[in-house]
Every structure is written in C-alpha cells, then in structure tokens.
C-alpha cells in the first residue's frame, strides 16, 4: 500500500522515513503502527535533528546520579542521602493556541516528570518569551499564560520561586512557555521509569482517556504553523486537583517495593510512555486498548494509543503486588486499571481484545534516524556582528537620568512582581529568597543546606552570535546562583529554535549548543536533563534562537545566603570583576535596542575571568563578608545599582564617578563577569585581599546612603522615582 503524502503529513513523517520503516520492518506498517512511528520518530520524542548535536553537552559528574536521557529527569546528589530531580520543558505550541490551558498543562506535564521518579516537587520556575504588550493579542497570550501557570501550580501547592520574561517582536506569533520543576527525594527511594520483569503488570492510573491532544507530539510540536486550521482541539485541558491526588498517591507508592517502575503520560500519550519504558527495561510490552478506560465512545486503537489526555500515569506493578498498589490509588479515589503486561520478546504489541492491531520491535520504534547536517555560517550573521559603536552618538550626561528611568521601565528589565505575586511562592515553608532577586533560594528541611534556582537565556545575544549567546546563558545562570551564595551544580536546558531543516536555523542550533557545552565544561555544570522545541516559526519567520538554561546550585549553609538589595546605610559598594569598560560592550544591549532600535554587535565574555569572579564572590559570601550581591546583566551597571537600591528602598551615592570611554557603555553596556556587592566598611580589606588572590578587579563605586541614587555629574534620582519606574514598568502595560 503506497501511503499518501497527506497521511504522512498528518503524522509529520517524510517519504524517505516511511521507506526506511518498510525496509526495516520488512513490510508495510498498518495505520496504527504508522501512528506509533509518527509519534516516536517525531522531533518531540525522537530528537532526530538534535541528538547528534546534544551529544556535545557534558552530562556526567561527581554528583550526577541519573544522566540526561536515562530517565524522565536528571538527578543530582546534594548529600545527606538526598537528591534533587529536575527538568525543564517547553509547552510553546499549545500555549500559542490556547494560552491558559497550554501553560497550565505545561506545568502539569513537568511536575509529573518529577514525581514519577519518586521525588516530591518543591519548586517551579517559568521562562516566558512573548511579543510586545502593545499588541492586544500578546496581552491576551500573556495574561492567559500567567493565569494558566498560576491556576495549575497554586492548586498543587508547589511554590513558584522564579523565572524570567523577555519580550521581542519575533515571539508575537510564537510565544515560548518553558516550565521547570525540581523535586527532592531520598536517594534510596528514587523510582525508575522502567518496564522490567516479565509478567509485571502495566496499570494506567488517573484520568480517563479521550480524544484530546491527538497528534500533540507529531502535529503540534514537530512542524511549523504554515497552515491556518483549527488546532485548538489538539490542546488538552488540565485538572490540577487530579494531579495533586496523583502526586500524593505516587509518592506513597515510591516508598514501597511494590513497583518496578513509573512513567507519566505526556507527549504521544500511552505510546511513548509504554514503549519508552519497555525500551529502558530491554523487554517488550503488550497492551490491550479495550482495557483503557475512556471518556468517549467509539475511540479507535489509534486514538487510544495517541491520546494526550492529561493527568495519567503508567505504573508497572511487580508480580503479585497489583492489589496492594490498587488499594493505594483507591484511597486517593483514583481510578487504576491493568491494561497490559511486560513481556520478554522485545515487541510492542497492541491488541484490541484478542485482535493484534500493532506488532513492532521496540528497538525499531525507539531508534529514529539521526540527522547530521553540514551548514555554513549565514552571511547575515556577519552583518549583525560587525557593529561600529562610533556610528551612534554617545549619550549626553543630561539625559543619563531619564534614560535610566526609561530602561528601568522597559518590560525586559522592569520588576516582574505583577507576575510572580500571582504564583504561590511560599507554600512548603522553605522559601528563603523570594522571586525578584537573582535566583530563588529554598532551604532543605532537616539539613543546614539550601538550594538556589534560576533560569536564564538572552535571545538577543543568541540572535547576533549563537555561540557566545550559548556561553553567556550558562555563565549568567551560574553568576545568578553565585550571587545568592550557591555553588552551581547542574543544568537542565530547553532549546527553542525554528525549523532545523533550514540551514541558518541548524547553524544557530549547532553553535548555540557548542557554546553551552564549552561553558558547561568550564564551569563544571553538566546538563542532566532537557528538552528541545523546534519548528517555532510562523509564515517562514523563525523566533530568535532561544536556549533557556535552568540551573541549580547548593548552599552548604543556607543561613549564609545573599540577596540583590542593599541592606545597610553606610555600607560600601564595590564592583567585582571586569572593571575595564570597553565601548563595544554596548553591542546587543537592551539600551541599544530600546534607545536606538538596533540589535547588533557581538557580546563578549572571558570564561577564565568569569570563573575566577564566581569563585571569589562565593568565597566572600561564605565568609560573611558581603551584605548583598547583584549580577550586572540587562541594562548594565546603571540598572544593577538602581535595582539594588529599590529592593529595600536605600540610596546610593558616588561622589567621584569617573568615566574613561563612552558614557552609554559605561552606564548601560552589558559587559559580562561583573557583580555589584555591598559590605560593611570594616570588611573592605578582606574583600580586597580575596579579589587580589583571585586576580579580579574590585573597584569601589560608592556608599549606600540616603534615599537617592547619585552618580555625581550624571545621575541624581530619588529612590521613589526609580521604584515607580521599575516596580510599575510592566504593570502599566497590562
């Protein structure tokens, strides 16, 4: 049966891929079998365009207990018999179509990835990219996405402790919603997503199966939105209350030895969860679709296998333990049904009653073709990178103050309070540093320890220079953690790109991953989990290359943590790190985009300096030298100083502000490897000695004083004015 192009398009498989299937299988696949291939060989599940590139990323390390790809999420040892389990995932396409439910089910999906491993979820973070809020459709997407995250996360009782939001035109048609979840488990209670042990039973738990979300993996996440058609029915609807019950019941099971494995049902539903866990166990599975409880009549085996109905889990119960497992779910009033079993023949066999409707080797389903491509640097990039600062006039000192206020009110820099106050960030009694600082900090009860979490990724840098953008995403995330006093441990990443079948997008992807890999090796932060979201394009227009780095760090003593706000009147303020202002540091900055409408010029970073700076800052916090630490990022030194002022309503005075080169670069240039710190005058000598030992600059900027931000000769603003611009900047646009 030669298969039509329409059918292949529906499941996003190419003609050559179809021929490969026929060749390997030795026959034509039937409709159900083709559906299984479509899902598992999709970019979303099979990573066929990214696998070869992702191999560059370091994945192992002393603390890594479960590496990338081995399980649903990566696991990092934090000592005391405890481990953190974390992952970030995109829900971009569903959120573009139905923002509330798209974002809500994104949270639901990532939370399942964590508790499925036996870890209690204790933190959520979100990284959002949207079009400008001047457009009413973007405002609709924004409030829908934030509402969905709040609606789902708040009901689960998991604190949402941070994230970031970045606005640019290219996200108008393709908003990005990346959700990160982190859980804590006793190392001995970790659960694998493995279907092992012939005769173990597959139990489907939670919601009934409906037609919602059909083709989510292949149709939505693995192609571009060229065609205008109604896709809303491919977005699922979330039920956070049901998920809460699943969390409690599954964590109860994780403490028993009654189960061989657990796996959530996410993209490609039962297909991917059953077959991927069989692949991990090295055996086969047999599923009878008639035993799957349904919420709709007349569903075909194809629909049952590919449904993406939410809040479902696959539990692999050991022989003889079925009744005990069922009793746990019964107590939580959750439905659980045996739908099949683990076999030893390596086949994925789907039955409808007695009739076999699909019978394919598990190996074949889980080994999609891997594509590698040779591409050259697009000439367009050369133009973007070559930028002569002299082509724009310098900022006049008279305008410095008003420009600072303008930057502070720009939605990319302004406080995100109007967003994070909609998320419960304190449930759990662990939140030590609340959202709004460089990173969120949670204490780990029963120990002296704490963990810090952040997400980062500046798409503008990546657009101009994908390699350096990748390096900086990692370096800045690590710097954020260091500013709280945490030692960076590991990364989870989400790579949001356009269509990888296009040369320039593939180049961006390759370079960006190479940059991240380099920084991860230098900073010793392996990538333990992640997700790739490709085909983020509409009408041929791709988004900026947007890697999002989620990073976790460890504080050995959580009592010694730092936040970004100045703390005491009379403290001295220093700039640690790169003290030489280079005029070109204004390249790709928020200032350049906002004031001149230009997105050009290479960002710059010296990883050696970065490493020394981070070690120095960390040591200073551990020795109780610092009272605050704040990373210089978007908006440069001017914005960093202003943010440190408004956090606790304290002023800053520099009576001797000298500028060597251009004023715009000095105030708003975005040179990396800089941290603004404050400390008691009596500790200044200690900081000086530390900085000398780590061979980094420590330049005294001024003192924490009064209620005004004064850089004599340039800026003189009241903290109230600054606060109004920064706290209200984003809120005013909604």
């Amino acid at each position: 049966m030669p298969v039509s192009k329409e059918i292949l398009d529906e499941i996003a498989l190419g003609q050559q891929e179809y021929e490969l299937i026929v060749e390997k299988l030795g026959r034509e696949p039937n409709e159900v079998e083709l559906g299984l291939f479509g899902a598992l060989w999709s970019e979303h599940c099979g990573y066929k365009h990214s696998t070869a590139l992702l191999r560059q990323l370091p994945s192992g390390g002393r603390r890594v207990l479960v590496k990338r790809g081995e399980e649903n999420a990566g696991v990092v040892d934090i000592g005391d018999g405890l481990a953190v389990v974390m992952k970030i995932e995109s829900h971009n396409h569903p959120s573009a179509i139905e923002p509330y439910q798209g974002a809500a089910t994104g949270v639901g999906g990532i939370v399942r990835d964590i508790f499925t491993m036996g870890a209690r979820p204790i933190a959520l973070l979100n990284s959002l990219r949207l079009g400008p809020l001047s457009d009413p459709h973007n405002r609709y997407l924004f409030s829908g996405v934030v509402g969905g995250i709040a609606g789902y996360g708040n009901c689960l009782g998991i604190p949402d402790i941070g994230g970031e939001i970045f606005f640019a035109d290219c996200y108008s048609a393709n908003p990005l919603v990346n959700a990160l979840c982190l859980g804590v488990a006793e190392t001995k209670n970790l659960v694998k997503a493995t279907a092992r042990g012939e005769g173990s039973l597959l139990m489907l738990v939670g919601a009934d199966t409906g037609r919602d979300g059909l083709h989510g993996a292949s149709g939505l996440a693995s192609r571009t939105f060229e065609q205008k058609r109604e896709l809303r029915s491919t977005v699922q609807v979330g039920n956070p209350f049901l998920e809460k019950l699943l969390i409690e019941a599954c964590l109860e099971l994780a403490e028993t030895d009654w189960i061989a494995g657990m796996q959530d049902l996410g993209a490609a539903g039962l297909t991917s969860s059953a077959i991927e866990s069989a692949a991990r166990g090295g055996g086969g599975i047999e599923v009878d679709v008639l035993k799957v409880p349904r919420r709709e009549k007349g569903m075909t085996p194809y629909e049952v296998m590919l449904s993406e109905s939410q809040e479902r889990m696959l539990v692999i119960a050991k022989k003889g333990c079925k009744d005990k497992v069922k009793a746990v779910f019964d107590r939580w009033e959750l439905r659980s049904d045996v739908i099949g079993q683990v076999t030893g023949d390596g086949m994925a066999r789907i039955k409808e009653g007695e009739k076999v409707v699909a019978d394919i080797p598990v190996d074949l389903l889980t080994s999609p073709p891997i594509y590698r491509r040779r591409v050259k640097k697009p000439p367009r990039l050369e133009q973007l990178q070559a930028f002569d600062v002299a082509s724009i006039p310098d900022l006049s000192p008279k305008k410095a103050g008003s420009t600072l206020l303008r930057l502070l009110a720009s939605p990319n820099i302004a406080s995100k309070r109007c967003v994070y106050r909609q998320y419960d960030h304190q449930v759990g009694d662990n939140t030590v540093v609340l959202p709004g600082s460089d990173a969120g900090v949670l204490r780990i009860k029963g120990t002296k320890k704490g963990i810090a979490l952040t997400t980062d990724g500046n798409p503008r840098y990546c657009c101009v220079n994908p390699y350096l953008g990748g390096v900086i995403a990692v370096a800045e995330a690590a710097r954020n953690l260091v500013c709280t006093g945490a030692q960076p441990l590991a990364i989870t990443n989400c790579l949001n790109f356009g269509n990888p079948e296009k040369d320039d997008v593939y180049y961006q992807l390759r370079e960006c991953i190479a940059g991240m890999a380099r920084a991860c090796r230098e900073l010793r932060t392996p990538v333990v989990s992640g997700n790739v979201s490709l085909y983020n394009e509409t009408k041929g227009e791709a988004i900026y290359p947007t890697p999002v780095v989620g990073m976790v760090g460890l504080l050995e003593d959580v009592a010694k943590h730092c936040a970004s706000g100045f703390k005491n009147e009379g403290d001295l303020v220093f700039l640690l790190g790169d003290g030489q202002v280079v005029d070109s540091s204004i390249g790709s900055s928020e200032y350049l985009a906002l004031v001149h409408g230009i997105i050009k010029g290479n960002p710059h970073i010296d990883l050696g300096l970065e490493k020394r700076l981070q070690r120095c800052c960390l040591e200073a916090i551990r020795r109780d030298i610092l009272n605050s630490a704040h990373d210089c990022s978007e908006g440069g030194l001017g914005v960093a100083l202003a943010e440190s002022c408004v956090a606790n309503g304290l002023g800053f005075v520099s009576r001797d502000w000298r500028i060597a080169g251009r004023l715009d670069s000095a105030l708003f240039g975005e040179a990396q490897s800089r941290i603004v710190v404050s400390l008691a005058p009596k500790s200044a000598w200690k900081l000086g000695r530390l900085a000398a030992r780590w061979q980094i600059g420590a330049k005294r900027l001024g003192t924490v004083e009064g209620k005004r931000l004064i850089l004599r000769g340039y800026i003189d603003l009241s903290v109230d004015e600054i606060g109004e611009a920064w706290w209200g900047g984003l809120e005013k646009l909604l």
Partner: protein, 238 residues
C-alpha cells in the same frame, strides 16, 4: 520522681486533610518541628476527634474548588464532627481554604469572594490585632501589627451590614489588614475585604477563621515568626 513532675505542657492539635489540602504539611511543621507540640493529621473521612484540644482546617484546594472554595469540603464526613467539636466550645482554626470551609459550613458568618483585582495574590501583609483577649490572640500585645503572608484568590471578606455591625460590636474581628504602623487603609487591603477584615472569631469565641497563613511565618529565616503568636496563644490557654 513522680511522673507528674515531668508532665509536658503539650496541646494535642489535629490537622484535617482533604484530598487537595496542601498547608497541612506546613501547619504540621510549624507546630511539631518549631513549637514541639503533639500533632496528628486527620484524613477527612475520619470522624473521631475526641482526643484533640484544637482542630485546624488548613489551606489548599480541598476538592479542587472548581465550583466554589469549600463548597464540597463542608460535606466531608469529618465536618460533622468538627461542628460538634466547636459546639462543645473546643477550639477550631480555619486558615485560608479552611476559613472558606468554615464559612460554607456556617460555623462562621459571611463569605469569601473573589478578590477585587480578580487575581491570585501571594504576598506579605501586615495584620493589626483587633482583639487581644481571644484564645487565639492572648499572647499578642494590644494593637500589635503582625507580618504574615497571604496566598489566595477568593479572600475578600463579605457580610451584610447587620452581620458586620454585630461582628464589630461584639469584638469578633480578630485581624485587619493594615499598614506597618497599624493604620487601616485601602492601600493596605490586598483583596478588597469589607472593613479590611482578615480574620474573625465566632460569637462564642472558640472558632477562628483567617485568610493569612500563620504557619508560613514560623521562623526568622522565612521572613517572620509572628504566626507562632497564634499557636502560642492557644497553647498558653489550654
């Protein structure tokens, strides 16, 4: 030595757990780990509360609360027992969702509506103690201002004029949203509650409902330990 010399002054708290409750763990932590009291968690299907001195209905989304917060929870088996418990004059505390459940069950007057700004809000607020002689506030100073966070969507206290007048006349308003210096202003009101009401006490004085979460303000590292004053008041009185 005779055993009575070793008698620990410890109150037995019972924390009711509905399927979608999540503040149970935080209440347990603040009472058991911080204040070293005896605490049990009580599954909502249980009905025997005879061994407890104080029952807590914690925050969360008892049954998902898609219909109206607390509307289903009030029919849980445990709730009939909580009513009897309260009728005998024993202490009941409802926090956030627990406050909503108590209003739904008629154990406290009024209702909690969607916040004025139609958003979920999680933030620190200041509470002025309006009645420092109740069993829940006797450890507070007169007009003391407590720093305790809120986290809710439906927290706007509403009651008809007659009920409000009676609450005020009888000193049943326990806490009001205020500025850090104790002024009762609109700006200090995070959700549009009438009379800035954040918590009320039943007429008999043994049932407290409050929207803010005292269990989250239990240690200095979390930003405040003012919430402990409420638990300490209860312990001191029993």
């Amino acid at each position: 030595m005779p055993p009575y010399l070793f008698k620990v002054v410890s109150v037995k708290f019972g924390i009711v757990v509905f399927p979608g409750t999540w503040s149970d763990r935080d209440c347990y932590y603040s009472l058991n780990d911080v204040l070293r009291q005896q605490v049990d968690c009580i599954w909502h299907k249980e009905t025997d509360l005879s061994q407890y001195d104080c029952i807590i209905l914690p925050g969360g989304f008892s049954y998902g609360d898609y219909l109206r917060p607390g509307a289903i929870a009030r029919f849980s088996p445990v709730m009939a027992s909580v009513e009897h418990f309260a009728a005998r004059g024993k202490l009941v505390v409802g926090i956030c969702n627990g406050f909503q459940v108590l209003c739904e069950a008629g154990l406290l007057p009024g209702a909690l509506l969607r916040s004025e700004h139609l958003e979920y809000r999680c933030q620190w607020v200041q509470l002025k103690v309006e009645n420092d002689s109740s069993p829940f506030t006797r450890r507070c100073q007169e007009k003391q201002v407590l720093r305790i966070p809120i986290s809710h969507y439906e927290g706007r206290y509403y009651a008809d004029d007659a009920t409000l007048a009676q609450l005020e006349a009888d000193g049943q308003v326990a806490f009001r949203y205020s500025t850090p210096t104790g002024d009762i202003t609109d700006a200090a009101n995070p959700n549009g509650s009438l009379h800035n009401i954040a918590g009320i006490i039943s007429r008999r004085g043994n049932v407290l409902g409050m929207m803010p979460h005292p269990e989250r303000a239990c240690e200095p590292i979390l930003g405040s330990s003012d919430g402990n004053l409420i638990w300490e008041s209860i312990i001191a009185g029993l």
